[in-house]
């Protein structure tokens, strides 16, 4: 049986009194890849960022309704946001490695969690890099600066960094939009492999990408969730006109 890892009910997001997300109700299943698609400015990234409360960093953002993860409303006033973000990791659009060594980048999260044992750290780093399919490329230069890696490698490093914290959910905000096709396909493969252990939510501009890697797809338009269904259904037999227009490339 597939559990719903995340679900929202009648969620509204206001940005300085302006409605940015309207009445979003969605159920995202565990250990599946769920893709959010839609034209830019439709609110899909904003929605993604509200799933680990990264929007808290922006002044004037207000959220109404329920955002539940494991049946806990993460906007409850008692929620520990720091721990929430350990549970719900995030990979950003632009790769953003720290100006530290490859090793230190991965070890950053575990160290913050109080793991200081050198052997244990090495193990975590190795596992995370292997899981992110970049181990073979960097295993001989873990001490080198992460900024020396190529764009695609940097992004996989950032994925590894997220995995090293051992999250349950990984949110990805257009992780391959700035990459070349080869790196993109590597990341896509990786995402498919990762769903064995993680619930993955990915925002993408690229409809082919959504079609290739996701199990479910949600289409956002002007701050509203227009349609949400099995990816196959969305791309072959959408029920809403707007969805069809979008995936057939009539706008966006």
């Amino acid at each position: 049986m597939i559990l719903d890892k995340i679900h929202t009910e009648k969620m509204f997001l206001y940005y300085s009194e302006k409605v940015a997300l309207k009445d979003i109700s969605i159920k995202i299943p565990e250990k599946r890849v769920t893709a959010f698609i839609g034209p830019s400015g439709c609110g899909k990234s904003t929605f993604l960022r509200s799933l680990n409360r990264m929007n808290d960093l922006i002044d004037g953002v207000k959220i109404e309704g329920k955002v539940m993860i494991d049946n806990i409303n993460i906007y409850d006033k008692n929620i520990d946001v720091v721990n929430l973000r350990k549970k719900v990791g995030m990979v950003f659009q632009k790769s953003n490695p720290f100006a530290k060594s490859i090793y230190e980048n991965i070890a950053y999260g575990p160290k913050i969690n109080g793991i200081n044992d050198k052997k244990q750290l090495e193990e975590i780093v190795e596992t995370a890099l292997k899981n992110a399919a970049i181990w073979d490329e960097v295993k001989d230069r873990l001490g080198d600066s992460a900024l020396g890696l190529s764009g695609g490698q940097q992004q996989r490093l950032c994925i590894a960094r997220t995995l090293a914290v051992n999250p349950e959910i990984v949110l990805m905000d257009e992780p391959a939009s700035a990459l070349d096709p080869l790196s993109t396909s590597k990341i896509e493969e990786l995402i498919v492999q990762l769903k064995e252990h993680y619930t993955i939510v990915i925002v993408t501009h690229n409809m082919q990408q959504a079609a290739r890697i996701s199990d479910n797809t949600a289409f956002f338009y002007l701050g509203e969730l227009i349609e949400y269904d099995k990816t196959k259904t969305i791309f072959t037999n959408p029920s809403k006109k707007q969805t069809e227009d979008y995936i057939t490339g009539r706008f966006g």
Partner: protein, 301 residues
Amino acid sequence: MINSIRKNIKGIAIEGITLISAIIIIVIVIVMLLVIFIGGKDHLTWEFLTSFPTEGMTKGGIFPALYGTALLVIIMSIAAVPFGTITAIYLTEYAKENSIIAKTIRFAVRTLAVIPSIIYGLFGLGFFIKFVGAHIDGAFFGGELRWGQPNLLWASLTMSLLTLPVVIVSVEEALKTVPQDLRAASLALGATKWQTIRKVVLPGSISGIMTGTILAVSRGAGEVAPILFTGAAYYLATLPGLSDQFMVLGYHIYVLTTQSANVDQTLPIQFGTTCVLLLLTFTLNMSAVILRYRIRKKKNR
């Protein structure tokens, strides 16, 4: 036709005036550098730098003044750099840009930067010496005059107040060059705000903190007005401790040029000392300019 030529001439003349203004400023700077350097270059010897003044300060070196200047800027930095850095961290990382408290702090910092340095001297006298020092003497030394008088510590602390805005402004600029992405990445990994600042933001702005420190040191090494009556001494035969008055380069120049009985006799030493001070601040400022240039380049990348 004639009209347009006339217009052109006027344009060239006006642009020329602005250019000449710029050149005059550059010439002033070059002349000052040259005059002082040529006048003092013969004194740039190891001996001059490492020996005590002799024969009523008409001969000998400037070692105690150099030593005092070094101690002054070190103690000053120990006080000003951490406080300045922390203030900058508050302004960029914690305070909301438009909150009243942030605006007030920024106004205070800019005010600190424009208060005449002599006022700092008065404050150092009124606060550190006559209030803090006098109370320390009263409480621990039975009223015996020990800290309630001008000394190195009070002068350094006075100077640290003066240089505080220099540090704050430089560090703030550097903190702003740390990309927002990196803060987000750290927070998304479950780091707390303070962990993020400590492990990502601060390491990323080390060069800015360095720039601020260098600029502060340069400023502190050259200022005289704040220490005129908070600790600077005319002449000392021994090297100072924290509770002693001390000799310092800038004050030494002032004393030699205006307060000594035989100004002409000490002329070479005056030029030598000024040249040393100018080279010191010049080198420090140059390195700060270069460092800051690099930071800005990094930001624009």
